[in-house]
């Protein structure tokens, strides 16, 4: 079947199988930040933005994204870099496997709610599992990133 979509700003037209999942489509197109984790729609590792909304790419048929805009971490390098630095400075990346999903969902949260409370952050990121860190490091990193954005905005 023919699929046409925009992946990280690039227009793509390809022939694909009807049951190809979006995670496999984006990885075939070089977006290796998108990880396959639980494969049961629970861990958030495979998060991508589909028409600006965070979704689990392991659970969407690629054909459902026909005509849509898909963004992976590769397409958000500029925004992701400072956030990644703050996460890393708290030792919250450890093995690093969950990080791309965490970053994608954090950036989605901040687009929806630029001034989240701790509870807002915890609730929005509840679908991103990390087996190393216990989540406190990520929370500190995100809060430091928010402070950085606020200071930058005040300059």
């Amino acid at each position: 079947m023919e699929i046409k979509l925009t992946l990280n700003g690039e227009r793509i037209v390809q022939d694909i199988e009807p049951d190809l999942l979006l995670i496999d489509f984006v990885r075939k197109n070089g977006c290796y930040s998108v990880k396959r984790g639980c494969d049961t729609s629970n861990c958030g590792l495979c998060t991508v933005l589909l028409n600006d909304k965070p979704v689990l790419s392991c659970s969407v048929l690629a054909m459902r994204a026909n005509g849509a805009k898909v963004v992976t971490l590769e397409g958000l390098q500029e925004e992701a870099k400072p956030l990644a630095t703050f996460i890393a400075s708290q030792g919250a990346e450890q093995c690093g496997f969950c990080n791309p999903g965490f970053m994608m969902n954090t950036l989605a949260l901040l687009k929806e709610n630029p001034h989240p409370s701790d509870d807002d952050i915890k609730e929005f990121l509840a679908g991103n599992l990390c087996r190393c860190s216990g989540y406190e490091g990520q929370l500190r990193g995100i809060k430091n990133y928010l402070n950085y954005l606020e200071e930058k905005g005040n300059e």
Partner: protein, 265 residues
Amino acid sequence: MLSIRNYVRPQTIEEAYEYAKKPLSVVLGGMLWLKMQNRNVNFAIDLSDLHLDQIEEVDDEIHIGAMVTLRELETNEQLNHFTQGAIKESVRHIVGVQFRNLATIGGSIYGRFGFSDVLTLFMALDCEVEFYPTGRVSIKEFANMKFTKDILTKVIIKKVPTNVVYLSQRNISTDFPVLTCAVSCIDQHYTCIIGARPLHAVAFNGNSYFETGITEENIQNFTKCVLSELKLGSNSRASKEYRQKIAKVLIKRAFLQLKEDVYGN
């Protein structure tokens, strides 16, 4: 593994129904549960082009299209104002935002899953579900119907004075519920729904118990009646006995909260 031979996006509901009648066809909701199944599908029918992703007020009803996502239910101000936040409470524990951006109300209700938070709440709201081509049916009746090839198109809530409370118990955050409980007072009719038994949700009529209002004594008598009739089971999450104890607590808490909402104290 889910294997799909043909993916189709009908442009009309009639076309979708023609596909649905074919052998080995399946209508896609959020496809989160479908994806977990070992299944060969001939036609996967995607309703995305049928404008079923709208929440609309039509006269004295609220129409929720089958493709409205659980996240849209969670963030919709009108629905949450109408239900005193119960809709948000019923979905916010379901996995994560990314999951809820995919899962649809149509898929959640059509499946009548034993673990469904959504079915429990919408049964308490006494809503109707609309099918193509057969039309409307009460959700409580639908919960016990056999699966057919009809396509669920809408969930309809009547805009009548409604108070509803939703509670659930989970072993850990974001997991399936061990038990769900929703109680409502709609036009002076009291209903209690218990779900995740782990069988699908069931309704109990509380009218005769709350004729004199929501009092501790009336709650106690009603709970006793519910527990004597409620069929519960065991699974890896909880035993039947544990569910029985949780049911008692959730029913009481839900009615006490309903009392506060109805009487303001």
